[in-house]
């Protein structure tokens, strides 16, 4: 660690991992509710469990991104963070707001929560992924703006690198497009149209700038390849991402009441969306093969390579599977979508946050890399979680294909629940694989506490 203030990233990363555990536990609850419908009913109905599962994911990824920004920006700018105190204050505000929101979801019926949090004054709740009460949404804006102020001031005072510019653009974009979550017209079609301006332009737009910047930063550090080379590829990859991804938003506008030309625009541009992910995979492997040093942190390198491969598979391949309008006509809103969502989120965003944590945490604990023993355990957790998510995706894909066949393609279509009853086997296998994922996650956490001889920080 080159600058003292980078250490503010540590609580962010710890909180991220803690919430990650919560996310997986609620995922397991939902997985069980798929096959044992009365599990934990009426204490935790499915809709509540799902809200907690997805919101925890978003919040912990945001913790990860913010921690990464606080770690990377000072090092890139060659300047101490503008205000470490502000960063720490924002950490506690975000943690308390996030925790209060989750407790609210679990303790109070959602309609009551809406009433207590002034949803009637400005209704924004009850839309997928944006279920947060108004005060939480405002809190997210405040925390994001304070962070942006903090890191932008830092970057302005110091060296301006491509990585910090891309990271700042990604984070600013994140804040700007979140503002669409405050727009909730009573016309459902308009509501859905602009809901995607937050959701799609986050995950297939500005978040990918953050992802690219984080990956590029770690690759420079662990491979020692010339910054010029890595940064020009970074620009080219994110250029491809936005060129294909912005109008690729059309793949969400096939069946929600929007004009039918979106079927063409959405299909054409999202068919190209795998290209930047493929470039990212090739890029990551190329840089590691051209490495000019043997960095002792093998685990971080593994996570970085894994991000390339899994984001290509999850976002690229599984996205392409159902993105063409004639295919999507049958698969829209089925387990196929769930399969894609799981692998894409894990492969792109979970893994890139774990990559930066894997690289930065040992640094913040005063060493270049963890002990051999600790790294071996971390790599075991890498493989357990990654292989689990692959199988979860495959089982959900199988479930989805059957669902589509029974409920939508067949000449004598089954009703939704009748079709679901036919595919319980795959849901059981998914739940079992989820337990292996949890085991991998537990190993991951244990790896932080495994001692042994470690290399001193350079």
């Amino acid at each position: 660690m080159q600058y003292q203030s980078q250490a503010v990233a540590k609580p962010y990363f710890i909180a991220a991992i803690g919430l990650f555990v919560g996310q997986i536990l609620f995922g397991l609850i939902m997985g069980l509710q798929y096959v044992m419908g009365d599990f934990l009913f009426p204490a935790i109905p499915f809709n509540v469990a799902r809200m907690v599962h997805t919101n925890l994911l978003i919040v912990w990824l945001l913790f990860g991104f913010m921690g990464a920004a606080y770690y990377i920006i000072p090092e890139e700018s060659e300047h101490e963070l503008f205000s470490p105190k502000l960063a720490l204050l924002m950490f506690w505000i975000f943690l308390v707001a996030g925790a209060a929101t989750i407790v609210g979801y679990l303790m109070v019926p959602y309609a009551a929560l809406a009433k207590y949090t002034f949803n009637d004054l400005w209704p924004t709740m009850g839309r997928e992924f944006l279920e947060q009460p108004l005060p939480t949404k405002l809190g997210i804006v405040v925390v994001a703006l304070a962070m942006l102020f903090n890191i932008t001031m830092t970057a302005l005072k110091g060296r301006k690198t491509s990585i910090s510019i891309v990271l700042l653009m990604g984070l600013w974009g994140l804040a700007v497009f979140f503002l669409f979550s405050f727009y909730n017209p009573s016309n459902l079609v308009l509501d859905k149209y602009f809901w995607w301006w937050t959701v799609h332009l986050w995950v297939e737009g500005v978040w990918e700038l953050i992802l690219g910047a984080l990956l590029a930063f770690v690759l420079i550090k662990v491979t020692g390849v010339d910054r010029e080379i890595i940064e020009k590829w970074l620009y080219l990859i994110i250029a491809m991402t936005l060129i294909t991804g912005i109008v690729g938003m059309g793949h969400h506008y096939f069946w929600i009441g929007t004009p039918e030309y979106w079927q063409w625009f959405g299909s054409v541009f999202s068919a190209l969306e795998p290209i930047p992910f493929f470039m990212m995979t090739v890029f990551a492997f190329n840089m590691v093969n051209r490495r000019r040093r043997e960095h002792p942190n093998k685990a971080a390198t593994l996570w970085a390579l894994g991000t390339g491969v899994m984001s290509f598979l999850g976002a690229g391949v599984w996205g392409f599977l159902h993105t063409l309008a004639p295919v999507n006509f049958y698969t829209h809103g089925t387990q196929i979508t769930a399969a894609h969502g799981h692998m894409a989120f894990y492969g792109a965003y979970v893994m890139v946050v774990l990559t930066i944590i894997s690289y930065a945490m040992p640094m913040m604990r005063g060493r270049a890399a963890n002990s051999e023993k600790s790294q071996v355990l971390e790599m075991w957790s890498f493989w357990m979680m990654t292989v689990s998510i692959v199988f979860i995706t495959l089982f959900l894909t199988a479930a989805g294909i059957l669902q589509v066949w029974l409920q939508r393609v067949s000449t004598t279509p089954l009703g939704f629940m009748a079709a679901q009853d036919q595919i319980t086997l795959f849901y059981w296998m998914r739940e079992f694989t989820g337990l292996i994922f949890l085991t991998g996650l537990v190993l991951y956490i244990i790896s932080f506490f495994v001692g042994g001889e470690s290399k001193e920080a350079a």
């Binding site: 620009y235 080219l236 294909t244 004009p259 030309y261 299909s267 054409v268 190209l272």
Partner: protein, 196 residues
């Protein structure tokens, strides 16, 4: 023509002119247009009559004039590259200005065409043919504007003497992009206006 042999001579086999990065961009653009063209063919095969009928209403004369305009502008760009290879910055800038001017002519003719269509109440949602016609031509129209912006940036730098006989990657980069814009129109025009 001497300019063309010059283009071929001054390059080692296997390396495209200009910055490699623009070729990634060109590749992505060609793919997007390529899939759009294929989709057009696919949609037409399912609805030949509608396509043939609607095609009658397009203004083929203005399309043909625009083809000549763009090809000429591409020739001007070739002359600009040839000029800078001789180190002639002023001539290079002049040829580029000519190409940009022709790009402007293209846009004006196109605007008349669009105006006629829009006044007739035609929009993206009129039918599948017009969806493709408007999408492809407007998408291409935006590319012409982008190409003109790029050429203008190159021209300004050339006028300031920013390129030389040895270092003129920027000119070749801009020229490559402009040729792509021209090429796309050469495919688009017969495909959408003529072939039936």
């Amino acid at each position: 023509m001497s300019t063309q042999t010059l283009t071929l001579d001054s390059h080692k086999a296997g390396t495209p002119p200009g910055d490699l990065a623009i070729w990634f961009f060109i590749f992505a653009e060609l793919l997007a247009f390529g899939i759009f063209f294929l989709s057009y063919a696919f949609a037409r095969a399912h609805n030949v009559e509608l396509f043939n009928e609607s095609q009658q209403h397009l203004n083929r004369e203005s399309g043909a004039v625009n083809t000549v305009v763009l090809i000429t502008s591409s020739y001007f760009v070739v002359r600009a590259v040839a000029a800078i290879r001789e180190g002639l910055s002023r001539q290079c800038a002049h040829w580029l200005a000519g190409a940009i001017g022709l790009g402007g002519v293209f846009l004006v003719i196109k605007l008349f065409e669009f105006h006629a269509k829009f006044s007739a109440g035609i929009s993206l949602s009129t039918n599948t043919f017009y969806m493709f016609y408007l999408s492809l031509t407007i998408f291409h129209f935006m590319h012409v504007i982008l190409g003109m912006v790029i050429l203008a940036a190159v021209m300004l730098k050339a006028r300031r003497g920013g390129y030389s006989a040895e270092h003129h990657t920027g000119v070749e980069t801009g020229a490559s992009y402009w040729h792509m814009v021209d090429l796309l129109w050469i495919i688009l025009f017969p495909l959408v206006y003529v072939i039936r």
